[in-house]
């Protein structure tokens, strides 16, 4: 790239030309180095706008979380946070992009569960341990739904049919390799159920196909199903989590039903590997202040997300444990799914 190569290459070329120029350049370079050192160590961070790279297209949950969190954290940081969307390859493009940026605290990224998955899928050689994790702000559990007019009223009835018919039930998913698809595979692995899988390009078309009774059931985020459940179009049979969901309090959890399965989606923030400790803490502090606002609590309520704050150490522990889980399970699950 010409922008970075030039500053190092030029002095060498002048070396052959004139010793005076070299001497002057040395002074200038020394001055620049001093300035840079001051800026890095003692200069107030942040001094300019911060770019927040979102791994999904505008309008989705990742985008909304990033934009709302960004605008709430701005006032605390005193500089604007500008969101940029770089969708593609389950987020791998955005994660790799952020990881390659200088670790100066001015480029950070949204870290969803996919950051712990993309390596296992072969989309990018990168995981949570390769980047500087800042903090985590929310978690969304998966929910199993059927059409409101379907014959299955409880999880047990549904499971009994899924085990008996071995593939007779059509299960719509939000795409092979997506987090909600893995939850369906985890259910097959953990309960002995077998489904015919119907992949869609996202949760919305998958749920629409259940509402239109083109498929029998689907697994998607609690926040994605809740409005259809309340409108009486879908029936939620189980939430794959240990604790009951705040927005679907009457729906039993998988753990209650005797099947400790479930892999939630989550949202956090990260920067390139090797960011300075104090910058990470400053950003985490700003996001924690944003986390405490009524606006954030309201967004979580409306989107069916569980507001959950983990600082950089807690987030690192959680994300790395998730990474190990997916590295272990994905090869097994994909064999099971026949993909």
């Amino acid at each position: 790239m010409p922008e970075t190569g030039a500053s190092e290459g030029d002095p060498l070329r002048y070396n052959h030309a004139s010793p005076v120029v070299v001497a002057r350049l040395r002074w200038i370079l020394a001055a620049c180095a001093l300035l840079a050192a001051c800026g890095g160590a003692e200069g107030p961070y942040p001094a300019k706008e911060i770019r927040l790279i979102v791994q999904a297209a505008p309008g989705g949950t990742s985008d909304t979380v990033s934009r709302v969190m960004g605008s709430l954290a701005e006032s605390r940081l005193g500089v604007p946070i500008v969101c940029e969307n770089k969708p593609g390859a389950s987020g791998a493009l955005a994660f790799s992009y952020v990881a390659r940026r200088p670790a100066d605290g001015y480029t950070i990224g949204h870290a969803p569960v996919e950051i712990a998955i993309v390596r296992s899928l072969g989309y990018a050689d990168l995981g949570p341990s390769d980047v500087s994790l800042i903090c985590m702000v929310s978690k969304t559990a998966p929910a199993l739904v059927v059409s409101a007019s379907s014959p299955w009223r409880t999880f047990e009835e549904f499971l009994e049919a899924a085990v008996r018919e071995r593939g007779g039930i059509v299960m719509a998913n939000s795409g092979i390799g997506s987090i909600w698809h893995f939850n369906i595979l985890l259910m097959e692995q953990g309960t002995g159920a077998r489904f015919t899988h119907l992949p869609y390009g996202g949760s919305t078309p998958a749920l629409v196909s259940v509402i239109g009774e083109h498929s029998d059931a689907a697994v998607a985020g609690v926040g994605e199903v809740v409005s259809h459940v309340q409108a009486g179009k879908l029936r939620a049979l189980a939430v794959f989590d240990a604790a009951r969901s705040g927005v679907l309090p009457d729906v039993p959890t998988s753990h209650e039903l005797g099947f400790p399965i479930g892999a939630p989606a989550w949202s956090g923030f990260f920067g390139p590997g090797g960011m300075q400790e104090n910058q990470v803490e400053l950003l985490a502090g700003a996001f924690e202040a944003a986390f405490g606002t009524e606006e954030w609590a309201k967004l979580c309520r409306e989107r069916g997300m569980e507001a959950l704050f983990l600082d950089k150490d807690g987030f690192a522990e959680f994300a790395n444990q998730q990474q190990r889980f997916f590295e272990r399970e994905i090869p097994k699950l994909l064999r099971l799914g026949g993909a």
Binding site: N85, K86, S227
Partner: protein, 508 residues
């Protein structure tokens, strides 16, 4: 007494309608609507900046205002962007949004004939009429339309896509074989990326940038925009057509309006229906509407060469798709397209949940939305007609400046879509292809159709086969699919039938 029951129900309904109107008859709400329409016009007229992007980026701003104000701004952007996308399509042959591809066919031809003003005028009027018609559908037939949209399973989507692809021949003009080849190329390009059923990478050459396939918008900007610039540069010695920058009158004459009326309303009907179907929007709707108008017309050869009917049908369908998408969103809580998906999120923040419950419990809000859409369509007509003359001045810019501007905006637009450099390269490659295709007289329409409809056709056929357990004949039990298949066969055989009729008729 049943009579008085009915009367009190009507009285209650009128009260709800008036309450809905009163909630938005507020200078702040209407101000937000006007701001939205203007912002939408900017997003729509710049290729690469889409209505989806405009609505998504401005959604967080609406958290700090009331539900009516926020919704007014977002709906304004949505409604304003679509007709604005037709402006560059008409003036410089570059569709501002994917919905305005069909607008280039007749709109740009009119500009070359020196009737840019009239084309812009028709764009403004037909867009507004199309939107108003679709709002009437929303107000009176919302639930039947929604039920129709829900009938669409994989087999039906496959049928719709197949019908769209069969229009390749129609949009090829006189070069049918070349058009088919271009269409096949479009379908082949649509195969790039993750396999929709197994998520296995196809033709990506190991580059993760291609996992999501080739982005359609940069290809569109390249084929139409850059390709046209290169053609003009290469032909500037022969004829200085672009120098005759005549604008002409803007309002259509009464006889012209009469010829367009039928095409406008049938375009609006097609646009509303296609818009109501989730994941199918103005881009597909306007192409089908254009082809339908062509088939209904006695003067088929004028289509693609500056037909007012073709232009009116495509513009009307683009904006009618908004009413269709809003119908699905309000009645079922299901997004009819990408923009309404974001609108649902924005409404949820304000504690309003689109869906059957909204219709039952908060009718006045539904009527507020209906009235906002009505005001928005009046605004886009006013802005479109008043802005036509100043906008058409673009044609007075010396060609080299104009070309530079198109390349510049095209590059920025291609990058802005996904913030990805690979899209810029795709745009330049498509530009070169667009230039060579035009030189070889290969039509571009079929390529675009293949690229848009290929993924929809492939993934839904495979889904339908999963559901029928691999039984091809089992698909034929679905009535809507059968209608689409019959229409497809008819559209392919129609030229033969017409020739047969023409050859038998002269000797009775």
């Amino acid at each position: 007494m049943p009579g008085s029951d009915f009367r009190s129900e009507v009285r209650a309904l009128i009260a709800e309608i008036l309450a809905g109107l009163a909630a938005i008859l507020d200078w702040q709400v209407l101000g937000f609507l006007a701001v939205g329409v203007s912002l939408g016009a900017v997003f729509g007229s710049l290729p690469g900046l889409t209505a989806t992007m405009g609505v998504a980026v401005l959604t967080p701003l609406t958290f700090w205002v009331s539900a009516e104000q926020g919704l007014a701004m977002l709906l304004g952007i949505y409604c304003g962007a679509i007709p604005a996308g037709g402006i560059p399509a008409i003036l410089i042959n570059v569709p501002g949004t994917p919905a305005s591809i069909a607008t280039t066919w007749d709109g740009y031809a009119l500009t070359r004939k020196g009737s840019a003003g009239l084309a812009l005028g028709v764009n403004a009027i037909a867009s507004a009429v199309g939107q108003l018609t679709s709002i009437m559908f929303l107000a009176f037939l919302a639930f039947p339309i929604a039920r129709f949209a829900l009938q669409f399973g994989p087999a039906e989507y496959f049928g719709l896509a197949l019908l769209g692809i069969s229009l390749m021949a129609g949009v090829s003009g006189r070069h049918v074989i070349k058009g088919m080849l271009a269409g096949m190329l479009g379908l082949a390009l649509a195969l790039v990326g993750l396999d929709p059923m197994t998520a296995y990478p196809r033709y990506t050459f190991g580059m993760s940038e291609f996992l999501d396939g080739i982005s359609f918008v940069p290809v569109m900007i390249g084929l139409f925009g850059l390709g046209e610039v290169l053609i003009q540069i290469s032909e500037r010695h022969k004829a200085r057509k672009s120098a005759s920058a005549e604008i002409g009158r803007i309002l259509p004459s009464a006889p012209e309006a009469r010829t367009m009326a039928g095409a406008t309303f049938s375009g609006a009907t097609v646009g509303t229906m296609v818009g109501a179907i989730p994941a199918a929007g103005g881009d597909i709707g306007s192409v089908i509407a254009w082809e339908q108008a062509r088939r209904a017309s006695k003067d088929k050869d004028s289509f693609g060469k500056g037909s007012l009917r073709g232009l009116a049908a495509s513009c009307s369908a683009c904006n009618a798709a908004i009413g269709g998408a809003m119908t699905t969103m309000l009645t079922l809580g299901i997004p009819g397209d990408a923009v309404s998906a974001i609108l649902i999120g924005a409404l949820l923040i304000h504690g309003i949940q689109p869906g059957p419950l909204l219709f039952a419990g908060n009718q006045s809000f539904v009527f507020s939305i209906v009235f906002l859409l009505v005001f928005a369509s009046l605004l886009i007509m006013a802005v479109g007609l008043l802005g036509a003359r100043p906008l058409a001045r673009i044609l007075n810019i010396p060609p080299p400046w104009l070309w530079t501007g198109i390349v510049l905006f095209g590059t920025v637009g291609a990058y802005a879509l996904n913030n990805a450099t690979v899209d810029v390269w795709a745009m330049y490659a498509a530009g070169l292809a667009g230039f060579l295709f035009r030189k070889a007289r290969i039509p571009l329409g079929p390529l675009v159709l293949g690229l848009i409809l290929g993924p929809m056709m492939e993934s839904n056929l495979r889904r339908a086969l999963i559901l029928s357990r691999g039984d091809w004949l089992g698909l034929l039990t679905r009535p809507i699919l059968l209608v689409f298949l019959a229409a497809t066969v008819l559209s392919l055989l129609w030229p033969l039938i017409r020739r047969k009729l023409a050859s038998t008729n002269p000797q009775p």
